[in-house]
């Protein structure tokens, strides 16, 4: 594996978290990462050194998913998915599982720029300034995207879980 291979290998954990936030079936989420890595590898001549590799890979992954989301989705979007397939992890409680499903559905409906900020801050626990540097945008832009993303996610998720809650009542 050459230098480029080593560089992208370092980004794999982050790409996987991103993919698993978009795709509910863990196998297919990892397929998406594999496809992303392969495409990045084939297109490596298009990656200009010094530019942001992480952002570039995230964009490839987002585009692959957006263009072929049917390939990576296990079935109809609203089918509750089994997160117990994650080996080694504590199986999330039923409520968490529902929430994870709703979360993924909602994340997919956000524009790429909002997804990126949301996942960098919410999932990678990156500080706003770090995310700004990584995405090469001002901190103010990170914040405004983050605020919009969270609010949109909240609305989408409450829409998704409301009927269930009503039934529980």
């Amino acid at each position: 594996m050459d230098e480029f291979g080593r560089l992208i290998e370092k980004e794999v954990p982050r790409l996987r978290r991103y993919a698993h936030a978009l795709v509910s079936d863990p196998e297919r989420a990892d397929d998406l990462v594999q496809d992303c890595l392969e495409r990045a590898w084939r297109k490596s001549h298009l990656w200009v050194r010094r530019t942001n590799l992480r952002g570039w890979l995230m964009t490839i992954l987002h585009n692959l998913h957006a263009n072929a989301s049917r390939r990576y989705s296990a079935g109809p979007a609203m089918v509750p998915l089994d997160d117990s397939q994650y080996a080694g992890a504590t199986a999330p409680a039923q409520a968490d599982r529902l929430q994870l499903g709703a979360l993924r559905d909602a994340v997919q409906r956000l524009p790429l720029e909002q997804q990126q900020v949301l996942l960098l801050v919410g999932m990678e626990q990156m500080r706003y300034a770090e995310a700004a540097e990584l995405l090469q945008i001002p901190v103010g832009t990170v914040m405004s995207r983050l605020f919009r993303a969270r609010e949109r996610l909240r609305v989408l998720m409450s829409e998704a879980t409301q009927p269930t809650l009503r039934r529980v009542k």
Binding site: D2, A89, G122, R150, M157
Partner: protein, 254 residues
């Protein structure tokens, strides 16, 4: 109702969600949320989003992942040989540049056939916007296999990434001595250079670098045992020599 002045900024509320606030500011936000249930629900939803992302992240991290096998296409030499090559280069370097004799170039007024054809091909295809190449660089393996077959000798597209040039792709060309190949490279400033490759006529042993210039296009060319090469570019001679040297070293496993 709380006075408007005591309302924390949206930035502060999100910083609270992300656990970025100091004790005093956190107290301000917590008091505000205690007095504003609808805001408390909204902020709690944001905190749950973060919590859900973290559950997901932990689950993903604990799941094994198989890295895909990438073809090490820029690796020309087996590991041991490469180490030997480095040692050889160092020794040669110590030898006062003796090795560079093989890379000497002379300036010529006239055009050799090779250089002329390379320059013509360069000027024909470099300005092309839509179809600069027949096979693009992302199909490098296919490109190289195809051109090798047509030229009857194994050709390679050297990697010039270290010099800032990416492979755009290549094409097959007619020449006065059979099929020729052209590889095109481009840097971030969209400056293009081309490497023209031709099967050698047997019995030639000339290996020195030679340089010719016609207007803006400079060409370095040299001859190996199986293939002839000509590098064309609208660059200063020194810069073009640097690229030609890098190609020479790669193609001859130096």
């Amino acid at each position: 109702m709380t006075a408007k002045a005591s309302r924390p900024s949206e930035e502060m509320l999100h910083a609270y969600v992300d656990g970025l606030l100091g004790g005093q500011e956190q107290g301000v936000v917590e008091r505000f949320l205690a007095e504003n249930p609808s805001e408390a629900i909204r902020i709690e939803a944001y905190r749950r989003q973060n919590a859900a992302f973290r559950v997901l992240a932990d689950a993903v991290d604990s799941r094994p992942f198989a890295m895909p096998e990438f073809q090490a296409r820029r690796q020309w030499l087996p590991r041991a040989l490469r180490a030997a090559a480095v040692v050889a280069l160092v020794l040669l370097g110590v030898g006062g540049g003796w090795w560079l004799r093989g890379l000497e170039y002379t300036e010529r007024v006239g055009w050799s056939d090779l250089a002329e054809q390379a320059a013509v091909a360069h000027q024909t295809y470099v300005p092309e916007v839509l179809h600069p190449v027949e096979v693009s660089g992302d199909q490098e393996k296919h490109l190289v296999t195809w051109l090798s077959k047509r030229l009857g000798n194994p050709v390679r597209a050297p990697s010039l990434r270290a010099l800032g040039y990416d492979l755009v792709g290549g094409r097959l060309l007619p020449s006065s001595s059979g099929p020729a190949a052209q590889f095109m490279y481009q840097n971030a400033r969209m400056n293009r250079i081309t490497l023209y490759v031709l099967s050698s006529e047997s019995g030639r042993e000339e290996t020195a670098f030679r340089f010719v210039r016609n207007g803006p296009v400079g060409v370095f060319y040299w001859i190996s045992d199986t293939l002839d090469y000509a590098l064309a570019g609208e660059l200063e001679r020194e810069r073009l020599l640097e690229v030609a040297t890098a190609i020479y070293k790669q193609l001859h496993n130096l």
